[in-house]
């Protein structure tokens, strides 16, 4: 952007004042030169020519001065426009980058959500499988424990039955074992003992 000189407005005003003063000086000179009414038309023409000349000269001078002003202003405006365009393009680029980033974030968010959903589903499957395995293991252990308890109870019951049977047999034998029977037992033992290698 082109900067304007701080003295430029002052010079322009000074030149405008000088032009106006010259114009005011020329009008009485022209009036004094006309001495007769016959020359009124000539005077009028001269006035108009003078006016046209002064106006043209002033206009040319004004135009010459204003042209630079307008040109510098147009240049400034063009610079402003260019700067604004650059700024706009930068903003547009930032906006696009932001939009792209936003789109990427949204895409990433979607992916994360999808992945989380898949992970959650897989985890649920794993948990269910693990729970099922644990339940099966507990069930097997419980069955084994029950079977063991049943076996132990059956063994205990069998031992009790055997104990009772033996106890009953002992009572029966003691009730029926007379000295004569005992003597026969001893005799049989002696006979078996006397046979070399015989079973007792």
């Amino acid at each position: 952007m082109r900067l304007r000189s701080p003295k430029a407005p002052f010079r322009l005003a000074l030149e405008l004042a000088a032009g106006a003063a010259a114009l005011l000086l020329l009008v009485p000179v022209a009036g004094a030169a006309q001495s007769a009414p016959a020359t009124a038309t000539t005077q009028t023409v001269f006035r108009w020519l003078n006016f046209a000349f002064v106006f043209g000269l002033g206009g040319w001078w004004v135009w010459r001065r204003l042209k630079n002003v307008f040109k510098s202003r147009a240049e400034r405006i063009a610079a402003f426009i260019a700067e604004a365009e650059a700024t706009r393009q930068q903003a547009q680029a930032r906006l696009q980058a932001a939009e792209e980033k936003l789109a990427a974030i949204e895409r990433e968010t979607t992916e994360m959500r999808d992945r989380a959903r898949l992970d959650s589903a897989a985890e649920a499957v794993r948990i269910r499988a693990r729970a099922r395995e644990e339940a099966e293991r507990i069930e097997r252990a419980a069955e084994a424990e029950i079977a063991s308890a049943e076996l132990a109870a059956a063994n205990r019951l069998r031992e009790m039955a055997i104990d009772k049977t033996i106890e009953y047999a002992r009572a029966r034998v003691m009730g029926r074992l007379t000295p004569e029977l005992d003597a026969r037992l001893v005799g049989r033992f002696v006979d078996a003992l006397g046979r070399a290698g015989g079973a007792l």
Partner: protein
């Protein structure tokens, strides 16, 4: 070899050499019985405060009163001199076992639920002698827990013909049959 076994074998050598194993066994058992019954005698013979000569003197008098052999007296002198009186019980046991081995004698512990008759005892001893081929020295005891029949133990061998044993076998067979 333990000291008591060494002394036992030495006395067995003497007894066999003199040809009087059983009398010497009997004499030693009598002396041990006397020691067991008299605490004073036992303390006197064991005490290190008593000189060996005094112990010898007492032993000589006791042996003479018992009518025991010179072999036993000399053996007791040896035990006193070597300060092995405390082992005398174990020595007597080792001597008995060694003598039994050399004489072909087996000690048999016979248990029954009642007192066996003389004929039964004789039959048992005869059967055992036929079975082992050695002379049997039985010792009898009554064990009512046997219910009936007889149980014989010789060393680590047991012949069990008792009713209790039969019931135990029956129990084992029943338990095995259900497994």
């Amino acid at each position: 070899m333990t000291p008591e076994r060494s002394y036992g074998e030495a006395l067995a050598d003497v007894a066999m050499a003199e040809g009087r194993p059983e009398p010497i066994r009997r004499e030693l058992n009598d002396f041990l019985k006397m020691m067991a019954e008299s605490g004073d005698l036992r303390n006197f013979l064991i005490s290190p405060a008593v000189p060996p000569s005094a112990k010898r003197s007492v032993i000589a008098k006791l042996v003479e009163r018992m009518g025991a052999s010179q072999a036993l007296r000399n053996f007791l002198y040896l035990v006193v001199d070597h300060r092995r009186v405390g082992l005398l019980g174990a020595i007597g046991e080792a001597f008995g076992q060694e003598l039994n081995v050399r004489l072909g004698i087996l000690d048999a512990e016979i248990a029954a639920s009642r007192d066996l008759s003389g004929d039964e005892k004789q039959a048992l001893v005869s059967a055992l002698e036929r079975r082992t081929g050695k002379r049997i020295v039985p010792s009898y005891r009554v064990e009512p827990e046997l219910i009936g029949g007889v149980q014989v133990r010789i060393g680590s061998t047991i012949w069990d013909g008792s009713v209790r044993s039969s019931l135990d076998h029956l129990r084992a067979r029943m338990a095995a049959g259900h497994r």
